[in-house]
């Protein structure tokens, strides 16, 4: 197979505004606007994303017990994360403590979500850049091109293990995609010994697949000087931000439960909070050019879309979780974490890693952890106990947080005495990352587009700056002619479009 195409030949453009539409022509108006100055360099760039309209209104007045099933409809990509956050919120609303068995079942279910979500992102969305190259033609730079390059047997393994994640969700959660099992204080479905054994077998295979994926990442990215040149390009892909993520009592990364830790640009802990304290830590900034709010650290304040200690923007997701934690509780993921720490130490980095494209490395580490944790839980024969529901009290107000594959996910509901929802607030992972992903896009655009020189490869490299966050901005619509697409409009300074590029 030919090597990946890292660079293509830029051509001179006369346009002064470049627009990348990353979501779809149907789902809304998610796009990147890049404005060029008189010299043909980037003056500014904005990532604009759509929001579904009316969800809060739809939920108010409904019984809060419906919310784990309704909120997971917000997203066709990570409904399990919404279901878990929502179920944990009901624990808080009903003052319920889930039983040990229920907690294990929920976490096992959740590892299934991580398996298929991280596999889909790494192999279908990130690998086209790593295998075929960021400047490969758009009609080849897709998951089918990856299968052609790496071979059908590897493609079949990808499909199989992604499907194992779905099956674990189906067995534990009642449905493969939109689960129905979460209840305050527990779950609705017990696991049989036969189901446990089946999941254990799948988890064993997933652990091996995790090892394979890490090796593939090492070979494709760490072993390729040109890629490492991109990854370590400080001008294009480097942001010194705060980081937020969930940790257990020992400071290890945890996706299901724990405290939320925030570290600064040097790795120093600046916040550690329980879910119901989130409003003391996070505030939201509104910009006139987008519907989505931009959360920031309240105590630090909002100074705009720039990195640095004086500005409260933070990042969540795989790299953030690695940066806020001491690693993982499982051996193979921890081994990779230690290799990661050693590698970055050799680069002179002792605190958090700020290179944006390192999100991909953190993601494959997490894939390994999810597989190992899945195996730990599925191997535990006590998980088949019938003790799946704990007591619960009268409804009130509550907050639940989990780590979605894309980052910290916060649900907050208030209920009246009859259990009817009177208030709902959610901060989803991609919203937490919104300010930082905007800053990343701006930085990459400024570094890569110079002197009017633009090419599809360069624009894809700008998109790579936010694709690595695994953004999930417009959740919910799946129309046939929707789906992911990329549109690039190049505009004059006055905003008029001069040229358009599309991958659909």
């Amino acid at each position: 197979m030919a090597g990946p195409i890292i660079n293509d030949t830029p051509t001179k453009t006369k346009e002064r505004q470049i627009t990348i539409d990353p979501i779809t022509r149907l789902e809304g108006h998610g796009k990147i606007e890049i404005f060029l100055n008189d010299q043909g360099n980037v003056e500014n760039a904005y990532l604009q994303v759509p929001e579904l309209r009316g969800f809060e209104r739809f939920c108010i007045g409904r019984h809060v017990m419906e919310l784990p099933v309704l909120t997971n409809r917000l997203c066709g990509v990570c409904p399990a994360a919404h279901h878990i956050a929502s179920t944990k919120t009901l624990d808080a609303v009903f003052s319920a403590t889930p039983t040990e068995t229920a907690t294990k079942i929920r976490e096992l279910f959740y590892m299934g979500q991580y398996m298929h979500s991280h596999i889909a992102h790494f192999y279908a969305l990130a690998a086209p850049d790593f295998v075929l190259g960021p400047s490969a033609p758009a009609n080849k730079r897709n998951v089918l091109g990856v299968v052609d390059a790496v071979g059908v047997p590897i493609g079949a393994e990808v499909i199989k293990h992604r499907s194992y994640g779905q099956k674990v969700q189906e067995i534990t959660g009642g449905r493969a995609t939109h689960p129905v099992f979460g209840l305050p204080g527990g779950v609705s479905k017990q696991i049989s010994e036969e189901e446990r054994a089946k999941m254990e077998e799948m988890a064993m295979s997933c652990v091996k697949f995790g090892e394979f994926t890490i090796k593939l990442f090492h070979d494709l990215v760490l072993g390729n000087k040109d890629y490492m040149g991109l990854v370590l390009n400080k001008d294009a892909y480097y942001l010194e931000t705060y980081y937020m993520g969930m940790v257990d009592k020992a400071g290890k990364s945890n996706f299901y439960d724990g405290d939320i830790r925030v570290v600064d640009q040097d790795g120093k802990e600046v916040e550690k909070f329980r879910p119901d304290e989130y409003l003391d830590v996070i505030a939201e900034h509104v910009e006139p050019w987008t519907y989505m709010k931009m959360p920031f650290l309240k105590k630090v304040g909002w100074k705009g879309l720039m990195p640095g200690k004086g500005n409260g923007i933070y990042r969540v997701g795989p790299l953030a979780r690695v940066n806020v934690s001491n690693g993982f509780t499982t051996p193979l993921a921890q081994k990779e974490y230690e290799f990661f720490k050693k590698t970055i130490k050799d680069l002179g980095v002792t605190g958090p890693l700020h290179f944006t494209l390192a999100f991909h490395w953190a993601r494959v580490m997490e894939l390994q952890y999810a597989a190992e944790r899945m195996l730990e839980l599925a191997s535990d024969k006590k998980i088949t106990s019938d003790d799946i529901r704990g007591p619960f009290g009268q409804p009130k107000e509550g907050v639940g947080i989990c780590e979605a594959p894309r980052g910290t996910l916060i649900h907050h509901y208030a209920s009246d005495k009859d259990g009817l929802c009177t208030k709902i607030n959610m901060i989803v992972a991609s919203t937490n990352n919104y300010a930082a992903s905007n800053a990343s896009v701006r930085q990459a655009a400024k570094a890569l587009i110079k002197d009017w020189m633009v090419s599809p490869g360069l624009l894809n490299k700008v998109e790579m700056a936010f694709r690595c966050y695994d953004p999930c901005h417009s959740c919910g619509t799946h129309s046939l002619n929707g789906g992911p697409a990329l549109e690039v409009n190049i505009r004059r300074k006055d905003g008029s479009v001069l040229k358009s590029l599309k991958n659909f």
Binding site: R73, V143, L480, N481
Partner: protein, 160 residues
């Protein structure tokens, strides 16, 4: 002895969409109506996601009808069309920030597990009006079309 089970054509209707996003749920609502008919030898499923989840669901069937929303230039809400995978060749996308779409997922299945993919797969694509506002009710024109779509799909299922 003839193995009756293995020679039977396995049929699936898959309603795709989000049932709380106004008309985006039309595929789901059609699937629910079809389920009430208890059509013999036909499985009816709902899929509120897209991409690779869809691939998981269609493998192993001989004949699959996917009912989903569509919006085309000049299309009238409630109109519906039958389309095949070939109609979506241009929709097989490059790397994207979000996910892979239905045509890409199906193309991947044809590449990786061709022997398990349906020999007949058609889309019933329904023109929609509103897929931006959260609601569990379709707009009137799309809702009115549902019985016709159900009748059409049921008829298509009769052919072997």
């Amino acid at each position: 002895m003839v193995d009756v089970v293995s020679t039977r054509v396995k049929k699936l209707v898959l309603g795709v969409g989000n049932p709380i996003l106004t008309d985006d749920g039309v595929g789901i609502f059609v699937a629910r109506e079809l389920k009430k008919l208890n059509l013999p030898g036909v499985e009816i499923e709902e899929l509120p996601a897209s991409g690779l989840e869809l691939l998981d669901m269609v493998v192993g069937y001989d004949k699959v009808i996917i009912v989903d929303a569509i919006r085309t230039k000049g299309g009238a809400p409630g109109d519906f069309y039958t389309l095949t995978e070939d109609d979506f060749i241009r929709s097989v996308h490059g790397a994207s920030p979000h996910g892979i779409n239905i045509p890409t997922a199906l193309a991947m299945g044809r590449r990786i597990v061709p022997e398990k993919m349906p020999s007949e797969l058609i889309f019933v694509a329904v023109e929609v009006e509103d897929i931006e506002n959260v609601s569990d009710k379709m707009t009137p024109k799309v809702a009115k079309a549902v019985p016709r779509i159900v009748e059409f799909v049921a008829e298509r299922l009769k052919s072997r």
